[in-house]
C-alpha cells in the first residue's frame, strides 16, 4: 500500500498545486486536448466508459475524488481522443463496426494508464531525483510523444508528457525542461493533427492508408523503446543509488511495467505490434486481467504465445484477433504491414535483437528481452527522429544514447529485481503476478548479467549461428506475407466496388470482377455513344426520311444508333425490348467500337433500328418497299412506344416497375412479330446479303430478349445475367443496369 499512500500524497500535492496545474494547462501543450475534445464527443461512449472504469479501477481516486476526477478526466479524454482517432481510422477502414468494442477496452486501458502514469510520475518525482534524471526522463516522454505523431497513439503519450509537465511544475524540479517538453508537445500536436488528417483519406486511398499504417508501426517500436528507455533510466538511477531507494526502482520498474503493459494492451487494441513487452508484461497482464478487458488481456497473452513460436508480426496479427475479430481482415493486413515495417526500420541493430528474441527461451529472459530490444530500438529510433524532427531530435539522440548505454548494463538486472520488488511492494496484486515475476526475474537475472555486459556485441555473435537461416526465412515470410496482405487488401477493395459480390474465394471474386469490368466497359461505350450521338440523329431526322437505299443509310447509321439509344433512354427499356430490331443497332457499337459499322450491314441495321425504335416511319420511309411487311407488324409494338413514353415520361426513376409490365406485354407481341418481319424482309429484300446478318441478329436478340425482363425484375442481378450470351443481350443488361442505377 505504500504506493497508494504515495499516490495519495502526490494527489494532495496536486490538489494544493492545482493552480499550478491549471497554468500549464493553458500552455500550448494542453491545447491539443481542446482540439480533440470534439473527437471525444464523437465517441461519447468512450468517455463515459473511461470515467466509469476509472472510478471502479482506482480506489485511491475515490479517496480524493475532487482531484482525481479532473485530472483523470482530462487524461482519459486525451486517451479517448487518441482512441477515437484510432477508431475513426478503423471505422473508415472497417466501416465503423468496431467503434464500441474498440473504444471500451481502450478507455479502460487509458484509465489504468493514467493511474499508473500518475503513480509513476509521482513516485519518481517524489523520490526527488536529480534534475538530470528528470531531464533524462522527461525528454524520453516528450520523445515518445513526438515520435508518436505519425501514429494515433500520440495523444496518450502526449497526455503523459503533459501530465509529466504538470508534475514537474508541481515539484518545481525541472522548469526548464518543462518548456522543452511543452514545445515538443506543440510539435506533437501539430504533427498529430497532420496524422489525424492523414488517416481520414485512408479509406478512399488505400495506399495512403498503408503508408500511414507503416508510420504507425514505425512509431510504435520507437514509442516502446522510449518508454522502456525511460524505465531503464529509472532503473539505472535506482541502481546507481545502490538500490538504496528500494521503493524507487520498485516503483520505476513495476509501474513502468504496468504502464508498458497498458501500452501493450492499448497497442494491441490499436493493432500495433507489441510483442516486445509481451513477456515482460505477462505477469502484469495477469494481474490486470480481472480488472481490464479480457480482449486486450488475451491479446497480450496471445501475442506472447505467438511470439514464442514465431515473431513480432505474427504476434501482432494474433494480438489483434482477440481485440476485435471483425477488423482483422482489413486491419490485419495493416498490422502485418506495420510489423513488417517495424523490422526494417530499426535496421541492423534490431535485426540482431530479433534473433535474440527468437532464440531465447520463453521462460527465460522474460524481462530482459524487452529491455534489450528496446534499447536497441531506442538507439535506432533516435536516429530516425533526428531526421524527422531536426533540432530537438539531436537532443533526444543524445539523451537516448546516454541512457541507452548505461542502461544496457544495469537495466536488465534492475528490471528483474525491480519487478520482483514490485511484486513484493504490491500486495494488492494477486499472487499470480508475484509468481510470474519471481519466475521471470529470477531465471533471467543470471543470463541478463552476462548478456547485459555487451548486448549489442554479444547478441549478433551468439545469434548469428542459429538465426541466419531463420532470419532469411523470416524475411521471406515477411515479404510474402506483405504481398499477400496487399493482394487481399486490394481484393477487398475490389469486392466493395463490385455490387452484390458475395463471393468469398478469390477465384470467383476475380471472375466477377472481370465480368463486371466487361459489363462496365460496354455500358460506358454504349452510353458514350448514346450521349455523343443523340443529338445528331435528332438534327438529321428530317433528312433521313428521304434516304432510300441502304447504302446511303450507312453514313447515318450512327444516327439510327443514336436514335435507338436515345429512344431507348428516353422511352426506357420497353422500347428496346419491345422492338427487338433495335438490338442490331445497339449491337453495332460494341462490335465496331467507336467507329461506325460497314455500310452493307449498317444500313439495314440502322433502318431496322429506326424501325424498331419509336420512329417506325423513318424506318419505313427509308427502307420503303421491302420493309412494308414489317411495317405493319412492327407498328403494333412501336405504336405502343409513344404511349408508354407518355405514360412513363422521361423520368428515369421508377421506370423499372412499369417496365416490367410493359416488357411482358411487348415481349409477347413483339417476339413473334419481329421475327416474322425479319424473315419477310429477308425474302422480300433484294439486299438479302446485307439483311441476313441483321435478321440473324434480330433473332438472336429475340432469344436473349427474354432475359432483360427478368433482369429488370431483379435489377440487382442485372449485371450478372446474360453477359456473354450475346452482345445484344449484354447490351440489354447494360441498359437495365443503367435503369437500375437510376433507381
Amino acid at each position: 500500500m505504500p504506493l497508494f499512500e504515495l499516490y495519495r500524497m502526490t494527489k494532495e500535492r496536486l490538489d494544493s498545486a492545482k493552480n499550478n496545474n491549471s497554468s500549464p494547462s493553458n500552455d500550448p501543450s494542453f491545447q491539443p486536448e481542446n482540439d480533440f475534445v470534439e473527437l471525444v464527443w464523437e465517441s461519447g461512449q468512450i468517455l463515459m466508459q473511461g470515467q466509469s472504469s476509472k472510478a471502479r479501477k482506482s480506489p485511491t481516486s475515490t479517496s480524493l475524488p475532487s482531484q482525481c476526477v479532473p485530472s483523470h478526466t482530462t487524461k482519459t479524454r486525451d486517451r479517448d481522443i487518441g482512441n477515437g482517432t484510432k477508431i475513426g481510422k478503423f471505422g473508415t477502414v472497417d466501416s465503423s463496426l468496431n467503434e464500441i468494442p474498440m473504444s471500451v477496452p481502450s478507455g479502460e486501458m487509458g484509465l489504468n494508464q493514467d493511474d499508473d502514469m500518475v503513480r509513476w510520475l509521482n513516485y519518481s518525482v517524489d523520490e526527488s531525483l536529480q534534475h538530470e534524471y528528470c531531464s533524462d526522463f522527461l525528454p524520453e516522454l516528450s520523445g515518445v510523444t513526438r515520435n508518436e505523431l505519425s501514429s494515433q497513439n500520440n495523444f496518450p503519450s502526449f497526455d503523459k508528457s503533459s501530465s509529466s509537465n504538470q508534475f514537474a511544475r508541481e515539484f518545481n524540479t525541472v522548469s526548464v525542461h518543462n518548456d522543452v517538453s511543452l514545445d515538443r508537445g506543440n510539435l506533437s500536436k501539430i504533427s498529430s493533427v497532420g496524422g489525424g488528417e492523414d488517416t481520414r483519406p485512408k479509406n478512399s486511398a488505400s495506399q495512403l492508408y498503408t503508408s500511414s499504417s507503416q508510420q504507425c508501426q514505425t512509431s510504435f517500436p520507437y514509442f516502446r523503446s522510449r518508454v522502456s528507455d525511460s524505465t531503464g533510466s529509472n532503473m539505472k538511477n535506482s541502481a546507481e543509488n545502490a538500490m538504496a531507494g528500494g521503493s524507487n526502482p520498485v516503483s520505476g520498474g513495476s509501474l513502468s511495467g504496468v504502464k508498458i503493459q497498458k501500452q501493450d494492451q492499448k497497442m494491441s487494441s490499436n493493432k500495433s505490434g507489441f510483442m516486445n513487452f509481451s513477456h515482460f508484461t505477462r505477469p502484469v497482464a495477469l494481474v490486470k486481467a480481472n480488472l481490464q478487458n479480457l480482449g486486450s488481456m488475451s491479446g497480450s497473452g496471445l501475442s506472447r504465445i505467438e511470439r514464442m513460436g514465431s515473431k513480432d508480426k505474427s504476434s501482432v496479427a494474433s494480438s489483434s484477433i482477440p481485440v476485435d475479430p471483425t477488423p482483422i481482415h482489413s486491419s490485419g493486413g495493416l498490422r502485418k504491414e506495420v510489423s513488417s515495417q517495424c523490422q526494417p526500420v530499426p535496421g541492423p541493430s534490431k535485426v540482431d535483437v530479433k534473433p535474440l528474441d527468437v532464440k531465447l527461451p520463453e521462460q527465460a529472459a522474460a524481462a530482459e528481452q524487452p529491455e534489450v530490444r528496446c534499447q536497441e530500438d531506442a538507439c535506432n529510433n533516435d536516429k530516425r527522429p533526428s531526421q524527422n524532427l531536426g533540432e530537438s531530435a539531436t537532443k533526444e539522440l543524445l539523451d537516448g544514447e546516454k541512457t541507452a548505454e548505461p542502461v544496457v548494463t544495469s537495466s536488465s538486472v534492475c528490471s528483474g529485481n525491480s519487478v520482483e520488488r514490485a511484486s513484493d511492494d504490491h500486495p494488492t496484486h494477486n499472487l499470480k503476478r508475484k509468481h510470474h515475476d519471481n519466475e521471470d526475474s529470477e531465471c533471467p537475472s543470471e543470463d541478463v548479467e552476462e548478456e547485459s555486459v555487451g548486448v549489442k556485441k554479444a547478441v549478433p555473435s551468439r545469434v548469428s549461428s542459429g538465426s541466419k537461416r531463420s532470419r532469411a526465412a523470416e524475411v521471406h515470410n515477411l515479404s510474402e506475407r506483405r504481398r499477400r496482405d496487399r493482394i487481399n487488401e486490394k481484393m477487398r477493395a475490389l469486392q466493395e466496388l463490385i455490387p452484390n459480390c458475395n463471393k468469398v474465394d478469390k477465384a470467383s471474386m476475380l471472375d466477377e470482377a472481370i465480368e463486371y469490368l466487361k459489363t462496365l466497359q460496354l455500358q460506358v461505350q454504349i452510353m458514350s455513344m448514346g450521349a455523343g450521338l443523340y443529338m445528331p440523329p435528332m438534327m438529321f431526322q428530317p433528312g433521313m426520311q428521304h434516304l432510300h437505299p441502304a447504302a446511303h443509310m450507312a453514313p447515318y447509321c450512327p444516327m439510327g444508333m443514336g436514335m435507338g439509344m436515345g429512344v431507348g433512354f428516353g422511352m426506357g427499356m420497353p422500347d428496346m425490348n419491345g422492338s427487338s430490331s433495335c438490338y442490331p443497332v445497339v449491337q453495332v457499337p460494341p462490335m465496331h467500337g467507336a467507329h461506325f459499322p460497314s455500310p452493307s450491314v449498317s444500313g439495314p441495321a440502322a433502318m431496322q433500328g429506326m424501325a424498331g425504335s419509336n420512329f417506325p416511319l423513318f424506318g419505313l420511309h427509308g427502307q420503303g418497299h421491302p420493309m412494308s411487311m414489317a411495317h405493319t407488324s412492327l407498328l403494333t409494338p412501336l405504336s405502343r412506344g409513344p404511349i408508354m413514353k407518355s405514360a412513363m415520361g422521361l423520368a428515369a426513376c421508377g421506370m423499372v416497375g412499369p417496365m416490367d409490365n410493359l416488357d411482358a406485354a411487348t415481349a409477347s407481341t413483339s417476339k413473334d412479330q419481329v421475327q416474322n418481319p425479319n424473315s419477310q424482309v429477308m425474302q422480300n429484300t433484294g439486299t438479302s446479303s446485307s439483311v441476313n446478318p441483321t435478321s440473324g441478329q434480330c433473332q438472336t436478340t429475340n432469344e436473349g430478349f427474354a432475359q432483360p425482363t427478368g433482369v429488370q425484375e431483379d435489377c440487382q442481378a442485372a449485371e450478372v445475367n446474360g453477359h456473354g450470351t450475346f452482345n445484344s443481350s449484354s447490351k440489354n443488361d447494360d441498359e437495365s443496369n443503367r435503369q437500375a442505377c437510376y433507381d
Binding site: E474, I514, M527, G570, L650
Partner: protein
C-alpha cells in the same frame, strides 16, 4: 519454424487456386487499358487489382457522367422529339 508453418499453411490453402488466380489476374490485366499494353507479365497481382479498382471507379464515374448527360439530352430534346413524332404520325 514459423516460416515453415506459415508456408505449409499457405500452400495448403492457396495452391489449389494459385494457377487459377494467376489466370484470372492476367485476364483482368487484359481488360485494363493501363496495363493492357504492358506486355510483360511481371505486373504484380496487387498492382493489377489496384488498377482494376481504379479503373472500375473511373468507369463508375464515367457512367454517372454519361447517364447525367443522357438524361439532360433527353430532357432538352424531348419536346422536339415529341413534335417530330407527332408530325410524322400525322402524315
Amino acid at each position: 519454424m514459423s516460416s515453415r508453418r506459415s508456408r505449409s499453411r499457405q500452400s495448403g490453402s492457396s495452391r489449389i487456386t494459385d494457377d487459377q488466380i494467376n489466370d484470372l489476374v492476367s485476364k483482368l490485366q487484359q481488360l485494363l487499358p493501363e496495363l493492357r499494353n504492358s506486355l510483360s507479365d511481371k505486373v504484380s497481382a496487387a498492382k493489377v487489382l489496384q488498377e482494376t479498382c481504379n479503373y472500375i471507379r473511373s468507369l463508375h464515374r464515367e457512367v454517372d457522367d454519361l447517364s447525367e448527360r443522357l438524361s439532360e439530352l433527353l430532357e432538352t430534346t424531348d419536346s422536339a422529339q415529341a413534335a417530330i413524332i407527332r408530325s410524322l404520325l400525322m402524315q
